[in-house]
């Protein structure tokens, strides 16, 4: 295990060097992606500008929710999204087989040798928006609250990486799993808005089998001291536990799928 950790910087290093071969394109893609998100946020801001609040959330509060959503997603996805989205091709072309013959954890290799620094644009936009939102909101900062905020971001990032891993791993036994990302992104879209505006069945889904309510809404509501449907006072501890719990589930699923891996099928 320790040996694997020592390899990680080298895995990341070699991938970053690949990016540096095309650093101009990387920089432009950061800007392009930030603009892509900014367009959507501008639309939501326009809705808030006309309607004052959405389910009791003002624009600065919504901005914090959106920033949290983007930051936790980008941190988790940089370790997982592209790597596991392309699992189908990796299986079909046999590149996954080439990873399996290396004396290193397959997940470790995949996640870090593909560490996606293209999310730089996401992260800069998210931190900028978050800084503006936090400055505009009269928050009563204390050490426990700051600590909770940080831990909640990490937990939500872990949740993201775990869900991506679970979906990607499924390609090992089904050959295809890309379609599951359509479902993921359906809920991911929902996770940008206050959970209390949705009908009860959707709320239940968002904190159970599609737990993207934890990606941004629940931790942001805890920080802003707003009511969380269904969970109530459990929201705080639950939002910190969700990341580690899903990482555990993802590990078990990943192992199960590796054991039942079929290759490209003959």
């Amino acid at each position: 295990m320790l040996r694997h950790l020592r390899v990680v910087p080298h895995l990341v290093g070699i991938h970053v060097r690949t990016y540096m071969e095309y650093r101009g394109a990387l920089f432009i893609s950061w800007i392009a992606q930030a603009i892509g998100y900014a367009g959507v946020y501008a639309s939501i801001a326009l809705v808030l500008a006309r309607f004052e609040n959405l389910g009791g959330w003002s624009w600065p509060q919504m901005a914090l929710l959106l920033a949290f959503h983007l930051l936790a997603y980008a941190l988790g996805a940089s370790l997982s999204f592209v790597q596991f989205r392309d699992m189908e091709e990796k299986v079909r072309l046999g590149t996954f087989d080439a990873i399996l013959v290396k004396p290193i954890g397959t997940w470790t290799y995949l996640a870090f040798s593909g560490l996606n620094i293209e999310y730089g644009g996401h992260i800069v936009l998210a931190i900028g928006l978050m800084a503006w939102a936090l400055a505009s909101l009269p928050l009563d900062w204390s050490a426990p609250l700051a600590l909770y905020f940080l831990a909640a971001i990490i937990s939500a990032a872990m949740l993201t990486a775990a869900l991506m891993t679970i979906i990607g791993a499924t390609a090992l036994i089904w050959v295809r799993s890309r379609h599951l990302f359509s479902i993921y992104f359906g809920f991911w879209e929902l996770a940008r808005y206050p959970l209390n505006i949705f009908p009860l069945p959707l709320q239940i889904m968002m904190i159970t089998f599609a737990p993207l309510g934890f990606l941004a809404f629940i931790p942001t509501a805890v920080v802003l001291d707003k009511p969380v449907p269904i969970l109530g006072d459990l929201a705080g501890p639950a939002s910190l536990a969700i990341g580690p719990v899903f990482v555990l589930i993802a590990m078990l699923h990943w192992r199960y799928c590796l054991r039942n891996y079929q290759g490209a099928g003959g």
């Binding site: 040996r3 020592r6 390899v7 080298h10 895995l11 070699i14 060097r17 690949t18 071969e21 095309y22 072309l93 046999g94 590149t95 087989d97 080439a98 399996l100 013959v101 290396k102 004396p103 290193i104 954890g105 290799y109 054991r259 039942n260 891996y261 079929q262 290759g263 099928g265 003959g266």
Partner: protein, 338 residues
């Protein structure tokens, strides 16, 4: 028993079955497929047994879909066998995937393990860390391999600028940096030109002789086997057809030598009992010698004098022909079949 002592790979009754969803043809079939999920069982490998001793070089041969790659994938720990027992270096490869991976080297002919945009050396360096190769040993191996595979000139060039032959040599070198006990190669010469193929074959054969590295390679190209592997395992439709020395296969199949007799002038049709006439070009006549116990002298004796015979050519069948005959007839001769 001595064989058992040195066996580093032992397969006993190994099978692998895949499940694939059924597809239906046409628009109507595709619509039906939206609601229907049936599976077809594909028996990629069926009840295969063999042992391979340390230091052997074995060619694993078979047509497309014969289960060659599946077998390699089971031996390298990528796939789990559905049945039977498989042991590589004394372990079940899949349940000890990482330990197994540290002691073997794998080259895939059709998929590169090198980093496309970076110099060859960067990929090698990464492997040094992944395989935890001591610095001195790494330097020594890198020097040896770049010399033997003539890579010195392009170690610092990005992989995307290399020719296929250069890249394949780099792939092979990369798989050997950590001194693997066994080197698996899946179609290592596919797509290479004659010169590049020759370089790869010479190197592998030398590696096997000088360093004693066990080599197992799958191929379509019979020359790979002739030049590298004294031992041949042939499979088809997942089943073992032949396991033994190449020379034994030739002998067991019968030699089916080809005889060409050239005359000064067309002597007319000549039928013989010792040889079968296959083509008659007038002055040149082609025969097939099907029985091993008949010698050239027997044929010439039957032919007798007075036909104005100018030239005689007797050809041994090449391995390609032997194997083609083998697949066509699929004989169950004692001593050939396992």
């Amino acid at each position: 028993m001595g064989v058992m002592m040195t066996a580093i790979i032992a397969a006993s009754g190994v099978s692998k079955t895949f499940h694939q969803p059924k597809r239906f043809a046409g628009l109507r079939g595709a619509l039906k497929g939206l609601f229907n999920r049936d599976y077809t069982e594909i028996h990629a490998v069926t009840d295969i047994s063999f042992t391979i001793a340390a230091g052997e070089a074995v060619g694993y041969l078979g047509p497309n879909g014969a289960g060659k790659s599946t077998m390699i994938k089971m031996m390298t720990g990528i796939l789990v066998p559905s049945g039977g027992a498989l042991s590589v270096l004394g372990r079940a490869p899949h349940s000890h995937r990482m330990i197994n991976a540290a002691e073997i080297g794998v080259v895939f002919g059709q998929r590169s393990q090198l980093w496309w945009d970076l110099p060859v050396r960067d990929s090698f360096e990464l492997n040094r860390h992944i395989y935890d190769i001591p610095a001195a040993r790494y330097a020594e191996n890198l020097a040896y391999l770049s010399d033997m595979l003539a890579m010195v000139g392009y170690l610092d060039r990005p992989v995307r600028q290399l020719s296929l032959g250069q890249r394949m040599r780099a792939e092979i070198a990369m798989a050997l940096l950590h001194d693997p006990k066994i080197l698996f190669l899946d179609e290592p010469t596919i797509g290479l030109d004659v010169v590049a193929k020759d370089a790869v074959r010479k190197f592998l054969s030398k590696l096997n002789r000088e360093r004693g590295t066990t080599i197992i390679l799958t191929t379509h190209d019979l020359q790979d086997i002739e030049e590298i592997c004294p031992r041949l395992i042939m499979v088809d439709e997942g089943k073992l057809l032949f396991d033994g020395e190449v020379t034994r296969l030739r002998a067991a199949l019968g030699s089916r030598r080809r005889l060409t007799l050239t005359f000064g002038t067309d002597p007319g049709t000549i039928t013989l009992t010792t040889a079968t006439l296959t083509a008659d070009e007038g002055a040149a006549k082609h025969y097939l010698l099907e029985r091993e116990d008949i010698s050239l002298l027997d044929v010439l004796g039957e032919l007798g004098r007075g036909h104005g015979l100018k030239d005689i050519k007797l050809e041994e069948p090449d391995i390609e022909e032997v194997i083609r005959t083998f697949y066509q007839t699929k004989p169950t001769l004692a001593g050939v079949s396992p």
